[in-house]
């Protein structure tokens, strides 16, 4: 790879991928831009098209329509090796019949490099991932975490400007997964190249990525910084999928000082700050509220909260201790899961049991208006950090 094409900016322009004529497309007229040197996570449930995008960027799959640009150059019709990308496969795909050293040196061997040259470079990379002692082992003799590092070294030996990672942590146990995701982030920073990482784990995406792209059914639901995805989800789908916030919904009753007062299906009143948005009375609007900003109070028999705004009464449906906080799921009677993350020190002062009637309340400033039922945001193009 020459130094002039080190730019790893990726543009996906109007890409559609259809596997079978007539079937719904795996990727549907999708636009995405990832800046050079950023860490981007494609996040979504299985079958949402995230792996298909990755494979099209890598060149292992051809778009039915649209173009893929890397560093400003159209690579749609180029071979994987001509794109300056490298891919790390989900099961790592380490060649079982070759030693660790030969696995890492494989790309150089294919390019006709001499044995001393390719082994020298491969040892250098193995040193980087702290596996030089395992150079002569076979992949099957390594642990999962070690195999992952070999796969990383093997992908990096060609000095790619883009590294594509297909669920790189899914084959590891929980402990290693947490360690390796930090390691991936560190390597990305060190190399300064673009990483695109496909995952279905929300917290993994938010932990490592600059930009998180949430997908559903071949389309982008939201592309934003990890912080925004978590704290400012755009619509109910992203809110529910990421899981850091609850979805509220109701019909607008009246306006009050830049906020809409809406009545939910169960008769509770909620206040949703509108910002610059306009809503009409009677309109069905959606909002999100952070789970860690919900106060949960035991409700005494006979007490009715009907007159209180930003609160509702319900029954505790489930309680999960998460260590530093307790996840309290409350059944409000409308089918929507409502969760309050209560700090452990608050919860254990007066622990609530499953089935207890409670009052959940929050402040209006923690509520955000969602796009659902309203004109959609203009663009889903990611502006990477």
């Amino acid at each position: 790879m020459s130094a002039t094409i080190r730019n790893g900016q990726i543009e996906v322009v109007g890409v559609t991928k259809t596997y079978h004529p007539g079937a719904p497309p795996a990727v549907d007229n999708l636009d995405l831009r990832v800046e050079h040197g950023s860490y981007c996570c494609l996040l979504g449930p299985s079958g949402c098209g995230k792996t298909t995008i990755l494979r099209m960027i890598a060149g292992h799959e051809a778009p039915t329509e649209g173009d893929i640009l890397i560093g400003g150059r159209n690579v749609t019709n180029l071979q994987p090796v001509e794109r300056g990308t490298a891919m790390m496969f989900q099961s790592y795909a380490l060649f079982p019949h070759r030693s660790v050293l030969d696995n890492v040196a494989f790309a150089l061997k294919m390019r006709g490099a001499s044995k001393t040259e390719r082994h020298g470079k491969a040892r250098e990379l193995l040193q980087k991932v702290h596996l030089e002692a395992f150079a002569n082992r076979l992949p099957a003799q390594l642990s999962g975490g070690q195999q992952q590092r070999v796969a990383l070294a093997r992908a990096l030996i060609t000095n790619p400007r883009v590294l594509l990672l297909d669920e790189p942590l899914s084959a590891l146990d929980e402990y290693l997964r947490l360690r390796m995701r930090g390691e991936l982030r560190r390597v990305q920073r060190e190399l300064g190249i673009t990483f695109i990482h496909v995952t279905h784990t929300q917290l993994e995406a938010i932990a490592v990525a600059d930009t998180v792209v949430v997908m559903a059914q071949g389309k982008i639901e939201q592309a934003a910084s990890a912080r925004d995805i978590f704290f400012a989800p755009r619509n109910a789908y992203v809110t529910r999928f990421i899981g850091g916030q609850n979805v509220l919904s109701g019909a607008v009753e009246r306006m009050s000082a830049g906020s809409a007062i809406a009545v939910t299906g169960t008769g509770a009143r909620i206040e949703i700050p509108l910002g610059t948005a306009h809503v009409a009375p009677g309109e069905q609007i959606f909002g999100s509220v952070r789970r860690d900003r919900i106060a949960v109070r035991r409700l005494d028999p006979g007490q009715s909260p009907k007159d209180q705004v930003n609160a509702f009464a319900g029954e505790v449906h489930a309680i999960e201790n998460q260590g530093s906080y307790v996840k309290v799921t409350i059944d409000a009677g409308d089918g929507e899961e409502f969760v309050a993350n209560v700090l452990d020190e608050d919860f254990f002062v007066d622990p609530i049991d499953i089935g207890a009637p409670v009052l959940a309340s929050w402040a209006a400033r923690d509520v955000r208006l969602l796009d659902d039922g309203r004109t959609r945001g203009s663009s889903a193009v990611a502006a990477a950090a």
Partner: protein, 279 residues
């Protein structure tokens, strides 16, 4: 162990155990009789009792022509089996890799290949020998015999290849492609080495199916016999335990071939550690 809570086995255990013993006797009894009788003493005959023990009938096989052309037919059979095995491997590996792409007409081609497994072998042989006659050609074990045997080994080899390739993870090839390997480099450096244990299995199938093939070969071998044909001829005109000695020797050879194949597969798997490469 199958035991009830009281420690007693149910009566069905004994019934099934007895049935299994009968099955094993039925399976291996007749063959064992041949192996034992092949060590019949010099004065002994074709049946029990054993009249002493000797290896004289094995010597007789090699030494004089009284027991037919055992050495010659054995050489022909080994050569034929080796050639059939090589051709089976080359054609089946190529076909197996080719069938991964759903080319137009793949279904029809597959059924055509499998059809020759279903057809009675004797008619396949008859058809080939008639075809040769029509064309005015002599049947010969090197040509018509080999062709007839391939109608038997190729479909088998292809089915084995399908099983082998079915467990092959395509991401190995994609990884190689990603790392810049050309189509030929992918096949040589990645696909074939990973499939090697399965390919040895195909070779073994090709060899053993050819080595003891009778029905398709009997009408297509021409004037010179392969070993199974020679043995068949001997059953009608050889009246000494030399016949049994042939059975013992051929069995040993079959076991050696199978042992070498399985041994090399096991060695490859062990070198790759815990059975990696197929998942």
């Amino acid at each position: 162990m199958l035991k009830t809570a009281t420690g007693k086995r149910p009566w069905t255990f004994y019934v099934l155990a007895a049935f299994f013993v009968l099955f094993v006797l039925f399976l291996y009894g007749p063959m064992s009789v041949i192996y034992i009788l092949s060590f019949q003493g010099p004065e002994g005959g074709l049946t029990f009792p054993m009249n002493g023990v000797s290896t004289q009938w094995f010597h007789e096989l090699v030494e004089n022509g009284r027991s037919g052309d055992i050495a010659g037919s054995f050489q022909r059979s080994i050569l034929l089996a080796a050639v059939a095995s090589v051709l089976t491997v080359v054609i089946c590996v190529a076909a197996g890799l080719g069938f991964r792409r759903r080319f137009p007409g793949a279904g029809i081609v597959f059924y055509l290949v499998i059809a020759s497994l279903v057809m009675p072998g004797i008619f396949v042989g008859l058809g080939i020998s008639l075809g040769f006659q029509l064309l005015g050609l002599e049947t010969d074990w090197r040509i018509s015999g080999l062709g007839a045997q391939l109608t038997w080994t190729l479909p088998f080899g292809l089915l084995v290849m399908f099983a082998v390739i079915g467990r092959f993870n395509r991401s190995f090839e994609e990884a190689a492609r990603d790392l810049g390997a050309t189509a030929w480099q992918r096949t040589r450096e990645v696909t074939l080495p990973i499939l090697l244990p399965g390919i040895i299995g195909v070779a073994l199938f090709g060899f053993t199916l050819s080595y003891d093939e009778f029905a398709r070969t009997v009408l297509t071998a021409g004037s010179e016999n392969t070993l199974p044909l020679e043995i068949w001829a001997m059953t009608t005109n050889v009246t000494s335990p030399a016949l049994f000695a042939v059975g013992t020797v051929t069995t040993i050879i079959s076991f050696v071939v199978i042992g070498v194949s399985l041994g090399s597969i096991a060695l490859i798997q062990r070198r790759r550690g815990r059975g990696a490469g197929t998942h």
